[in-house]
């Protein structure tokens, strides 16, 4: 088993040409809310390559959302720099889809109209994306619900619709902030499988925030574990498990070993007292 563990070490410049190009480069990024407020991020450095599925894992309040929001251009870092495709992030990058913990569907729009929110903002013709919209609805089991209103759907279906919305314009970067946090365990497992499938089919870069160890290990190529106050990267773990992964993989010793490593780290951070 080849688990490569680096602790809080900035990634050395890669020379290996076989690796995909760098998609997101986070360099020494800090974020302090208010002049004397919380230091939510403390000199975080991280490189994400194109097509990578990377999870950011950590207890609540350790700065996961802050990091994601800085990448999304919704928050300005107070130190360091973030670039996407080599360009410094000053506003939300084009070609990006975001999924929040709440589905944030607009109640007054049907599911289909919700999916077209971005194209409506851009003033684009819907016809260009109509085929894609139906393909996505089909893929996420929402066929027949395109004209339903959000209040008529279950939590799982609503979040599926939110994911469809994020994927409609074929973004090459998808940011997800605890998207399944509000779902029941079974729906959550199902969504993990669907997400893996959609990621495998188009190999977008996905930055996925979660506080579930199992979910992070199951989905990711790499898991970045953060520690709180101040928010720092405590460990980066490459998950070397074959894909496509089935739910049963969680019973395998390799899977359990990855989870144990993370749990041990949480124990060392004093976040998990297992006596």
């Amino acid at each position: 088993m080849s688990a490569s563990v680096q602790r809080a070490a900035p990634a050395p410049p890669m020379i290996d040409t076989s690796l995909p190009p760098i998609h997101i480069a986070i360099t020494d990024t800090s974020k302090r809310y208010g002049a004397a407020g919380v230091l939510a991020l403390d000199r975080v450095s991280l490189t994400v390559r194109e097509g990578e599925f990377l999870s950011i894992l950590g207890p609540s309040g350790c700065g996961k959302s802050t990091l994601l929001r800085c990448v999304a251009g919704l928050e300005r870092p107070t130190g360091g720099e973030i670039s996407v495709h080599g360009e410094t992030v000053r506003r939300p990058p084009a070609n990006m889809g975001v999924v929040f913990q709440r589905d944030v569907l607009l109640d007054w729009r049907s599911i289909l109209d919700n999916m077209f929110l971005q194209t409506d903002f851009r003033g684009e013709k819907r016809s260009r994306y109509m085929a894609r919209a139906h393909e996505l609805l089909d893929l996420f089991g929402l066929k027949g619900f395109e004209n339903a209103y959000p209040t008529q759907l279950s939590g799982g279906m609503r979040q599926r619709a939110a994911i469809c919305r994020a994927l409609l314009a074929d973004p090459d970067l998808v940011l997800m902030d605890e998207p399944f946090g509000a779902l029941d365990a079974l729906t959550r497992d199902q969504m993990n499988l669907e997400l893996q499938k959609i990621w495998a089919s188009a190999r977008r870069t996905i930055l996925f925030v979660t506080h579930s160890i199992g979910e992070a290990v199951f989905l990711s190529d790499r898991v970045v574990v953060m520690s709180p106050r101040p928010g720092r990267i405590a460990m980066t773990l490459t998950i070397d498990l074959p894909r496509p992964r089935r739910m049963a993989i969680r019973e395998m010793p390799e899977f359990a070993h990855y989870c144990a490593q993370i749990r041990t780290l949480f124990g060392e951070m004093g976040l998990l007292k297992d006596e």
């Binding site: 251009g73 919704l74 939300p92 913990q101 709440r102 944030v104 607009l106 007054w108 929110l117 940011l175």
Partner: protein
């Protein structure tokens, strides 16, 4: 629509109608049975007689009142919503103007009605002004509340889609605020009618308020009741019209969904 909900809807209309009829029948019987003098409490038949003896006059004065009220209300809606947008967009206005409006809201507005007569004379002006003033407060206050209640992650979503501030206003903020704006308008339209009548009491030679005041001087109680019944009917129709408009504009809203 299925049978059950249809029956229920018919009952929903029938029950209040029967109640009103029953009240009028009881009223008629009591007044005639106890020989109450018309000047104290006229029977429904005498009220109807008063209405039918001068239908054109009642219609004309009723329309005058309604027109005045609608102009005042329309102004309150336009000014109220625009001001609410300004208050939400400009931080300084929230801590100054909005606080002032909220404080003035507790002043009994009808008490300053005579001032408008001094300022604006006795025509349409003072009545529109009072209707406007009294309807304006709930509209501006509820609109501000609605515009401020937009969830932050919804705006984040729009920003992540690179939507301009203007696009965010039209596609996110305004639709989110609409239920609250309608709540303000529903209160406002009833208050506008009250404001108009107060205006007509203070100084007027027209309108249902004027009819009531002159009828009081000549002890024509049946006319007072007739005017009040017209006002009540107008109030119901206006509220119903606002609700219908609300249903059309916000079909998604929870308050509109009918349980089957």
């Amino acid at each position: 629509m299925n049978e059950i909900s249809r029956t229920r809807r018919i009952w929903g209309l029938l029950t209040p109608a029967t109640t009103i009829i029953a009240v009028f029948v009881a009223w008629q019987l009591l007044v005639t049975g106890l020989h109450v003098r018309e000047v104290i409490l006229p029977a429904p038949s005498e009220i109807i007689q008063a209405l039918l003896s001068q239908p054109a006059w009642f219609a004309q004065e009723g329309l005058y009142t309604m027109a005045t009220m609608l102009v005042g209300f329309a102004l309150a809606v336009i000014v109220g919503i625009l001001l609410a947008i300004l208050i939400v967009e400009v931080k300084l206005l929230e801590s100054t103007l909005y606080v002032l409006i909220a404080a003035l809201n507790s002043v009994p507005k009808v008490a300053i009605a005579p001032l408008f007569v001094i300022w604006l004379g006795t025509g349409y002006g003072p009545k529109i002004a009072i209707a406007f003033l009294i309807a304006f407060f709930p509209i501006v206050i509820d609109s501000v509340l609605g515009l401020k209640s937009v969830p932050k992650d919804m705006l984040d979503l729009a920003s992540s889609m690179r939507a301009s501030q203007l696009a965010q206003f039209w596609r996110i903020r305004l639709p989110t605020a609409l239920p609250s704006i309608f709540a303000g308008m529903k209160v406002g339209i009833s208050l506008a009618l009250v404001g108009t009548i107060v205006g007509e009491f203070v100084a007027s030679d027209h309108g249902l308020g004027y009819i009531i005041l002159t009828a009081q001087g000549t002890f024509e109680t049946a006319q007072i009741f007739a005017a009040n019944i017209l006002l009540g009917a107008a109030g119901i129709v206006l509220f119903w019209a606002m609700s219908a408009l609300e249903r059309r504009c916000l079909p998604w809203h929870a308050s509109q969904r009918q349980e089957v």
